[in-house]
Amino acid sequence: MQHYTMNLTLKVWRQKNSKSKGHFESYQVKNISSEMSFLEMIDVLNEELIAEGKDPIAFDHDCREGICGMCSMYINGRPHGPWEQNTTCQLHMRAYKDGDTIVIEPWRANAFPVIKDLMVDRSAFDRIIQAGGYISVNTGNAVDANAIPIEKQKADDAFMAAACIGCGACVAACKNSSAMLFTSAKVSQLSLLPQGDPERKTRVLNMVAQMDKEGFGACTNTGACEAVCPKGISLSNIARMNAEYFSASLVAQ
């Protein structure tokens, strides 16, 4: 891999707190190595800002290996930047070249209010899980793990859906700010598994109701969510959730 350095212009959304009005601010960063991660590039800028006595840019991040789901930047109009199936923390600077301008915004959705700069409040996702994203089994109630054989294909599909990291890129990418991909991933995982069967109907109804209550928009099957999902969560989960919802509502009435 050939390494190189670059100078960049960043246009970053700055917003003091949830009540204040935000604005874009421009920064020049110099001598950025192509081997750096995107967040390390922001670290470099922040160290400079602190040295100059300015307020560093606030952003969410934690594991920096693409699994905790905390990082959340909207980079040049795309959640998590240009790479396929990737999180911001795993984006590396070799994606850019000298002289590039990069625009960085927070997730934008009514249900995800900005806390500061690039940080948003995603607690709505927790509340959707609270509405039914679980199997009601108290500790100690379980039978032997091999007592319930599960078809490999179903187990694999459940895993694919369960791989969701709850970052919210799907909401940020959606023109309606819909949380259907997130919600359907959990509904799918649990409806594919026999353990999830007893609560199958109430789960989908309650989770969808909570999703609506939080102010997420409706789904128009555009597929922007799937295109930006760092974990490749498939749109077919939404179809499965719609089917689950439909059959649950019929029985409910």
Binding site: I50, C63, I67, C68, K116, D126, P149, F159
Partner: protein
């Protein structure tokens, strides 16, 4: 004198005896008892959920924006359990024995045996929650093997086992939140423990969004705050992982056990430059199929694929024929360091070795070709089929490697190097997981208890969940049975006021320094001292120097750190400063502990104590104890030993040859 409260009786009956004789709290009284849980990783989330299910009033705290983000989520390879589903001779005793041996005979037998006993129930519980473990075509669970064992007892979900287990525990805690049994405080950081009349009665936290300090009462406090590998600055830990909660407990009287026991993981992506903010692990499961090697010639600059087989040194297979590439982590790490120090390292920095899949791809490719009935398949077909198998097993890890390095590991071997990964040391706890402060517990990586001087792969997830799901629900009742008459203490009690003032004063002091150097720069310097002098190899002279350097660094930090922003607002730099200040103090204690343990054991390698072949040389006559440190004042600690009494296992020199 430390009393570990190990139940009497034969080893394999201790836990069942304890469970049948410990005191219970009736359901009506549970509703009146409040429990604080700090941290929501596997240990914290499973404890909070299980205690909520029992009817206790639980308050849980995490510094992230959701309990689902805790760093347990990043664990890749798997979780051990003595299920013996593979019929390959596994048993509770063998898991217990492997863990004690893997820990180089520095762990407590009774705790480890209990861990092995409950391991099976963990898998049952997780499957019941809907955790999608890998399965075979018959619908039953799949296993793979990990370092330091000769059976297949590791359950896994691709390379995302920690994620799936944590999301299981997260769903359990969210369910309890919905039911009102657990109250959750996201983006809150614990900054002190409140001790009243000798018992832990609450905590002081900072709301990281508003900057306000809050007081919370609890009849008991559980610290499930993880490990402290970030003292090295560069580690596989998350950026926010910190020692602060445990350190505050230490300052309030909890002893710190074996602080120098650090796990350096052999297979991480090497450092690429000064900008590096963290290191990324490549799961140990990769050593199932990957072969580790360096060129036989020093400073060989050829491309790895151009180096012929007989010019490669598969140094683990050469030195440890019995376990080969699956030796425990401490052994593999030191062997890699030895080759690099001797000039055989690869890559631009020469601080790396190869982890190669070419053989495994061939092997799997041929098996697949056989299955599909292809006769005389071409090399391309074999490689294509082999790559598919490897992708299913390790795809996400290979993708991650490619994203970080820009190299395709299906075509060229990975470059790897050891990095700080886990800390076996932690708060000392007794059999009931209680620290030396009554009512203050430590679970999971935050305690010292089960892994001795080296943790085996796939055992951290097991321990976190064992502590939270199956140990604390019993042991906490034994303490709380005496607390049913204790009314909740109002948080205007002088002890709460004083603790909050102490926290506020310290924050004010930090913010008033307004010096010239950033928090990050201090953290980096601390990390360098620790890595160079208290890392994979340690010696007396270096450790003494390190202690001096850390003391100087501390003085400089408290007179010259520069923290922007204000106190009563979101201020990530201030959060970081609070953590780094504690890491600096911890660093000194780690060096002190490493200095006082003049033997090599597990991950702790004292250069003065090695065999002629360069293997770690234990000294059981003088050091078969847990070193517990009590803080007496600034730069001042007193050592309390818990002598380890091996009733069942006979300690021997560990050999993987």
């Amino acid at each position: 004198m430390l009393n570990a409260k190990i139940p009497a009786g034969p080893l394999n009956e201790k836990w069942s005896t304890y469970k049948s004789t410990c005191r219970l709290v009736n359901p009506a009284n549970k509703r009146k008892l409040e429990i604080i849980v700090v941290g929501t990783g596997l240990a914290g989330a499973s404890a909070a959920a299980s205690l909520g299910e029992l009817g206790y009033k639980v308050k849980a705290f995490c510094f992230q924006d959701s309990p689902r983000r805790a760093h347990s989520i990043a664990a890749q390879g798997g979780i051990n359990a003595a299920k013996n589903y593979q019929n390959d001779g596994d048993s509770v005793y063998r898991l217990f024995y492997d863990t004690i041996k893997g820990g180089d005979y520095r762990a407590r037998e009774a705790n480890v045996h209990r861990l092995a006993e409950v391991s099976g129930a963990i898998i049952d519980q997780c499957v019941a929650q809907g955790v999608p473990f890998a399965r075979e075509y018959g619908g039953l669970l799949s296993n793979r093997s990990f370092g330091g064992t000769q059976v297949q007892r590791t359950f896994y979900a691709a390379g995302q086992t920690g994620q799936q287990l944590l999301l299981g525990a997260y769903s359990a805690i969210e369910r309890q939140i919905a039911l009102g049994n657990v109250e959750m405080f996201n983006r809150h950081e614990m900054l002190d423990v409140v001790v009243i009349e000798g018992k832990a009665r609450g905590i002081i936290v900072r709301d990281l969004v508003s900057g306000e300090l809050e007081r919370h009462f609890g009849h008991a406090v559980l610290l499930c705050s993880g490990g402290y590998g970030n003292v090295f600055y560069l580690s596989t830990n998350a950026m926010g992982s910190n020692v602060t909660a445990a350190w505050k407990a230490h300052k309030k009287g909890a002893y710190f056990g074996n602080p120098c026991f650090t796990q350096i993981h052999p297979t991480c992506i090497p450092v690429s430059g000064d900008h590096q903010s963290k290191l990324t692990l490549m799961s140990e499961s990769l050593r199932n199929d990957g072969r580790i090697w360096v060129p036989k010639k020093q400073a060989d600059d050829r491309k790895p694929t151009d180096i012929p087989e007989d010019e490669r040194d598969y140094f683990l297979e050469r030195r440890y024929p019995a376990f080969g590439n699956l030796v425990p982590r401490d052994v593999a790490s030191r062997a890699a360091k030895e080759r690099c120090d001797a000039g055989f390292g690869v890559g631009t920095s020469k601080q790396a070795v190869y982890l190669d899949y070419a053989d495994a791809i061939q092997r799997y490719g041929k098996i697949e070709a056989n299955k599909q009935g292809l006769s005389n398949p071409s090399d391309d077909v074999i490689i294509k089929l082999g790559n598919e198998v490897i992708k299913e097993k390790y795809g996400n890890l290979f993708d991650m490697y490619e994203k970080i390095t820009g190299e395709n590991p299906y075509e060229t071997p990975m470059r790897i190097y050891p990095a700080v990964h886990y800390t076996m040391g932690g708060l000392w706890v007794d059999y009931e997981l209680m620290t030396t402060v009554p009512g203050l517990y430590a679970l999971g990586e935050a305690n010292f208890s089960d892994h001795g001087a080296n943790r085996l792969g796939a055992s951290a997830l097991m321990q976190g969940l064992a502590d939270g799901y199956f140990v604390i629900p019993y042991t906490i009742g034994n303490y709380l049975a005496d607390e049913i008459h204790t009314k909740p203490i109002p948080t205007d009690h002088p002890a709460f006021v004083a603790a909050e003032k102490e926290v506020a004063d310290r924050i004010n002091r930090l913010m008033s320094i307004q010096g010239s150097k950033t928090v990050e720069s201090f953290h980096k310097r601390l990390g360098k001292i620790m890595w160079d002098k208290c890392g994979m190899a340690r010696n007396e002279e270096g450790l003494k120097q390190a202690i001096e350097e850390i003391r100087q660094l501390k003085a400089e930090f408290w007179s010259d750190v520069k923290i922007p922003g204000g106190i009563n607002e979101m201020n990530p730099e201030l959060d970081k400063a609070n953590r780094v200040a504690d890491f600096i103090e911890l660093g000194e204690l780690m060096c002190l502990d490493a200095l006082s343990r003049n033997e090599s054991c597990g991950g702790h390698f004292r250069e003065e104590s090695q065999t002629p072949e360069g293997e770690a040389l234990r000294n059981d006559a003088d050091y078969m104890y847990v070193a517990n440190w009590e803080m007496k004042g600034e730069h001042e600690w007193q050592l309390h030993k818990e002598i380890l009494d091996y009733e069942v296992v006979k300690p021997s020199q560990r050999s993987y040859k």
